[in-house]
């Protein structure tokens, strides 16, 4: 067997294992836990995707994006519009369809969401040629807000009423598969030649440039990849629950950043942990209903003072004061 073939076979085995795992967990979850916990698991999975993808930009490449919810919104609305307007014509699959027939259309919708969002990521990544640090951050913030306002003004996707009539097609299996895919892709990127380039930019952009790393291209690439997965997460979200631009405010972007930082900048496992903890924590604090967000914010401050590198972070994200 040639090495190439064997790696292909190994890849297939991974895919099969991932599919079995997602479907298995989903079946078990449907059987054993109540809908409330099921919903939290789904949201956990989506947040894992968001945190992992943002980590590529903020943790691994050392850029600073605070508009991640904007990419999620682009993916969500693009895929939802695709499902509502294009899928019935293209495949003859109506909104009430269920079973295996929806697999193809949903997969395609996720791809549409991801690619549209990736295109947006390319546009947002471009200013990184000229802007650094806080200025780049504020451009990403601006992008997130502009996207939200623009969507709010498009009547075909519901505008301020929210987008109704999207069939509910996402289940836990899809979300787990999505999170696994994000994880595997990012892990492989990180271990590759390109991964070293991303890390080099974070450690010292000038030195990286001097060693021949095309820094602009890599920064834009990081934005594109991150936007793609955020878009897919958004697409899964759109096919799961009520879609309204209020789900993609600045606060959502902040939430994802907090997950990344809390888990540990640059650590993939940390992002998974951070996303899970921060999705579950507000729910776990429900016993103190009106004080829970006060406790949450205090925990955040205390954690930053006590362990600024995050739970699984090895080093501090970046030098500087």
């Amino acid at each position: 067997m040639s090495p190439r073939k064997s790696s292909f076979a190994r890849g297939l085995r991974w895919v099969a294992a991932a599919l079995a795992l997602s479907l298995g967990v989903d079946r078990l979850a449907v059987q054993w836990i109540n809908p409330y916990f099921y919903r939290i698991l789904v949201l956990c999975g989506l947040n894992v995707m968001l945190a992992l993808s943002l980590n590529l930009v903020n943790g691994i490449t050392g850029q600073f994006s605070i508009g991640h919810a904007g990419f999620m919104a682009v993916g969500a609305y693009a895929s939802a519009a695709f499902t509502v307007y294009a899928v019935p014509q293209l495949f003859g699959v109506g909104p009430d369809a269920s079973g295996l027939v929806i697999v193809g259309p949903l997969l395609l919708a996720l791809l549409v969401g991801g690619l549209t969002s990736a295109a947006a990521g390319f546009l947002v990544g471009l200013p990184s040629m000229r802007l650094r640090g806080d200025y780049l951050a504020i451009v990403t913030l601006g992008f997130g807000e502009i996207i939200r306002v623009v969507i709010l003004n498009i009547d075909a996707v519901g505008g301020a009423r929210g987008f109704a009539g999207i069939p509910r097609r996402t289940d836990l299996a899809w979300v787990i598969a999505g999170a696994l895919t994000t994880w595997v892709v990012l892990r492989n990127v990180l271990r590759s030649y390109h991964g070293r380039a991303f890390l080099a930019i974070r450690e010292d952009e000038i030195a990286a440039e001097a060693l021949g790393v095309p820094t602009t291209r890599y920064k834009v690439t990081a934005f594109v990849i991150a936007a793609f997965f955020a878009g897919v997460a958004g697409a899964l979200f759109a096919h799961y629950t009520y879609l309204h631009t209020n789900s993609f405010t600045f606060m959502k972007s902040i939430e994802v950043i907090v997950m990344v930082v809390l888990g540990g900048m640059g650590s993939l496992l940390g992002s998974v942990l951070g996303a899970t903890v921060l999705t579950a924590l507000p729910e776990a604090l429900r016993f103190a209903s009106s004080e829970r967000l006060i406790i949450y914010s205090l925990l955040l401050i205390v954690l930053m003072i006590a362990r600024p590198q995050g739970i699984l972070g090895k080093t501090e994200g970046k030098r500087g004061k």
Binding site: N58, F64, P127, R130, L131, D134, Y135, A137, I138, V139, L141, G142, F143, E145, I146, V149, V150, L152, N153, A160, I206, F250, M251, I254, I257, V258, V261, L262, M265, S290, E291, L293, I294, Y296, S297, L298, L300, I301, M304, I305, P308, E316, G317, K318, R319, G320, K321
Partner: protein
């Protein structure tokens, strides 16, 4: 034409409020390189402090008069100066030597804390800000209608900005602030008490935010605990637009934001109001990456 000047007048009044908040952002950023996300919430605290002060002193009802209004303004500024100093001491000082992102997350934590404590203490439903000054409509030359509240906003803002500029340019403390902003460690070596200067910066910035909170209470009398989020973000954008760290830049940025918002409301659609600020910002940054009045610092290799 009259319509244009009308929107300009409204925009300038609203922009002055942004400018006052932006000053706090830009001062703190200049000294600590920290985006103080809690700043918008300090502005909210300022509005509520004034609300309760006005209720307690009767300045909103029977005893309404100009000196009482001034008293409420100063009281609220004092409360927020203390809040700002407390935030700096308890939350920001412990993370000052950590990475900038750590400090940023801490600031977000403080922001969430103030918002949620606000929701708990003040209640989620909007409160109606008492009328510190009886409202009056004034017609300027050319038929432009303004309220005396809008004029108050602009006048008070100008007074505060002039006072701030004089303070920073003419006093010893102001000079020390500039030195710390220029190079903190070198300033420290020259015997400047850096910690005290940072505390003073927070006190002044927060007091200005409180003034903005009181002024906004005059013109838009509905106040609620989450009112600081959007103006906070936009004031920050205004600071970046003008060139963060630059005090005249913050004022210009705030006015540009306010005026452009009202022009969009008047000529395009009020639903695009929240987006225009960011569009202008991105355009400006693409042409002048350091903002309108920001200094382009040469990159050291």
């Amino acid at each position: 034409m009259q319509e244009l000047f009308q929107q300009l007048a409204n925009g300038i009044a609203w922009g002055s409020i942004y400018a006052l908040i932006a000053l706090g952002y830009t001062m703190v950023y200049g000294i600590l390189r920290l985006i103080n996300f809690a700043h918008g919430d300090v502005y909210m605290v300022g509005a509520f402090a004034a609300y309760y002060l006005a209720l307690a002193t009767g300045a909103g009802g029977a005893a309404a008069s100009l000196p009482m209004a001034l008293l409420v303004l100063l009281g609220s500024m004092l409360v927020c100066a203390l809040v700002g100093m407390l935030i700096e001491f308890l939350a920001y000082r412990p993370v000052r030597r950590s990475s900038r992102l750590t400090a940023l997350i801490t600031a977000i934590g403080v922001s969430l804390f103030l918002e949620n404590v606000g929701l708990r203490v003040f209640g989620a439903d909007p409160k109606f800000f008492p009328q510190l000054i009886p409202p009056k409509r004034i017609t300027l030359a050319g038929g432009i209608m303004v309220t005396n509240h809008q004029i108050t906003v602009v006048v008070v803002s100008i007074l505060l900005m002039v006072a701030l500029t004089l303070f920073i340019q003419r006093t010893k403390t102001g000079k020390a602030m500039r030195a710390v902003a220029f190079h903190r460690d070198a300033a420290s070596l020259m015997g400047i008490p850096v910690n005290r200067i940072i505390t003073i910066t927070f006190a002044i910035g927060s007091a200005l935010a409180a003034a903005a909170g009181v002024l906004v209470g005059l013109t838009n009398p509905k106040i609620e605990p989450l009112m600081g989020i959007m103006p906070g973000i936009k004031a920050f954008v205004a600071a970046v637009l003008g060139g963060i760290g630059s005090i005249p830049g913050a004022v210009i940025g705030g006015l540009v934001m306010g005026v452009s918002e009202y022009l969009v409301v008047g000529y395009v659609s009020s639903t695009y109001r929240d987006a225009i600020a960011f569009v202008i910002l991105i355009l400006v940054l693409l042409i002048r990456p350091a903002g309108l009045l920001g200094r382009n610092v040469a990159e050291k290799v």
